[in-house]
Symmetry: C2
Subunit: 339 residues, 2 copies
């Protein structure tokens, strides 16, 4: 900018004023400055600007695993939304590890991100103090966090699972295996309640042996399914917690020599482009990923626009049961495709 100012024979203040439109500058000077900018190929240094202004027009986004299609989609939507708004996005993957998350959040704050969207891990760790100190706005994504009172957008997980399990019960299933993620995060907790609720409403017993948990990975789903399938009285249906885990479930079913839905029905959380392309077509609980991402972005953008004092807002969206043909009525042939 100094060079531009010299070339245009004006002060840096005038250049700045022109660039930011913070003051009127005469036509001649305007022209001289613009010419100088072109000649020199000047680009304003955003770092210096950030230092002075105290804002970076950058936000931090942390998710457990970007390869989980649910998070992939949400990240994509959020990225687009902030791109439109002129913000850059720093992406971090916490690998479902609290220490990693804490470290990455610290890194992001050091870099003066203007806001944070977090699909948190563990008990939230450092998040609590950040939200309390209230320097940078935080939006919780997908997972609430006890003791962290801030904007959030989550699914009505209880209802979603309750609907899915009720559907299985209506098909005649009585022993429904349930594979969940680590239980310390809110969605898993709420989904478990939904599972219990549906069983209870149908007067079915809750068998602990039918509940398995794992760390969200394919291998965890595989192992959990293997255990369920080798029970003396094995379940006739399995509900799996997410995409990677349901892949593990399907592989376990295949490896053990059974088939879906003939021998065992399968449903899962999260829907994917290919859910209805292959055989069996998976019955899933679809999350409104587009809406989730957009709402999260909007909540944060609203705070960034200056609306700091509004009380925390919590958005709860509805899942949608996509009925396909991976679950069959007990004692009948596989049903045909709907959805």
């Amino acid at each position: 900018m100094l060079h531009v100012a010299e070339a245009a024979r004006v002060s840096v203040a005038t250049v700045s004023a022109l660039l930011n439109g913070t003051a009127t500058v005469s036509p001649e000077l305007t022209q001289r400055i613009e010419q100088a900018i072109r000649d020199i190929g000047y680009k304003r240094n955003a770092i210096a600007r950030s230092l002075k202004m105290g804002t970076t027009r950058t936000i931090g986004l942390t998710v457990p695993h970007i390869t989980n299609p649910f998070f992939t989609d949400v990240v994509s939507v959020i990225q687009q939304a902030f791109d439109r708004a002129g913000y850059a996005v720093m992406l971090c993957c916490t690998d479902e590890d609290l220490n990693t998350q804490d470290e990455q959040i610290r890194l992001l704050l050091d870099r003066m991100v203007d806001g944070l969207i977090v699909a948190r891990v563990g008990d939230g760790g450092i998040l609590k103090s950040i939200v309390e100190d209230a320097n940078v706005p935080v939006v919780l994504l997908d997972r609430l966090c006890e003791g962290v009172d801030t904007d959030a957008v989550v699914l009505d997980n209880q209802r979603a699972v309750s609907d899915a399990v009720t559907y299985l019960i209506h098909l005649g299933h009585r022993r429904i295996g349930y594979i969940t993620g680590t239980s310390d995060i809110s969605p898993m907790h709420d989904r478990m309640i939904g599972y219990r609720e549906a069983l209870q409403a149908a007067g079915l017993p809750m068998a602990e042996e039918l509940i398995r948990s794992g760390n969200f990975h394919e291998i965890d789903g595989y192992n959990a399914t293997m255990q369920l399938l080798s029970l003396h009285d094995r379940p006739s249906a399995i509900f799996s917690a997410n995409n990677p885990m349901v892949i593990g479930t399907m592989k376990a079913i295949r490896d053990i020599g059974l088939s879906c839905p003939e021998d065992i029905s399968v449903a899962c959380f999260d829907d994917f482009p290919w859910s209805d392309v292959f055989v069996p077509q998976l019955t899933t609980v679809a999350q409104p990923v587009q809406a989730i991402g957009e709402q999260a972005a909007n909540l944060l953008l609203d705070r960034l626009a200056g609306n700091r004092d509004a009380p925390p807002r919590k958005l709860v969206l509805k899942g949608r049961l996509m009925i396909r043909n991976s679950c069959r009525p007990l004692g009948a042939l596989p049903q045909s495709v709907s959805a």
Copy 2:
């Protein structure tokens, strides 16, 4: 830092020296300073540091679509690599649009990223001048770029497709539909050569009507497949350019009332966790995503470590044909699973 210095009754220079280990500071002062840092909860401001040092320990990464599983995986690997090295990653999606890409790259450069990894779009646009000006190192990912002479890691696309098509020919297929992406990027160009090469080696004619192109989306694959399937003499096999497009292909086959592999064989580029879980199990060309991501990261990290003058390095990795059961020998029953 000023506050810390005051609280510890030293100068800011001493605090800085201690923090960076750039000079020895006596045990007493060390202790006073560390105490003050704890008391105040001081965190060093990375933006101010960046401004002074001229380095941000941040890199920019642009890909066409993060929801394409190939890019999802590569992004994930790259993100992890830079995370380990203490770098932050700014992620941009160009949506296969050159203007968007140019704008995003400019944004990244304004923010003084230390380096760039780009899965480029169009003709590269602004990239040329950036690489020439040589201020920030650039690594090309997945796609070379004419006139942009810099580090790159790509697949041997020609060989990969040639192998896949040759495999189809060995199964007895003579009319092989080929669905490609927009032809202005190097992989699509090389793959087309591979396709031609395989046909030629087998003495088969090259029928233009069997070649369709689209913009990498599911809908493009769907439309292209619809066109291929309504040819008077329709192909007995289809090779599809990527994951979203092959989903479109499968949907088109289903919607038109055919089935795979009985009526039509299908193979595609890129492998996915679920490729071998459902029916049919997809025959694919697997890219070594882990290696691609790591190599790209290493190339850039090497430049960032100071190795600026080495000539551009071009890494070419091999794909691997994953033979499953979505392609059948012509005139015979579907083969059983391998791989």
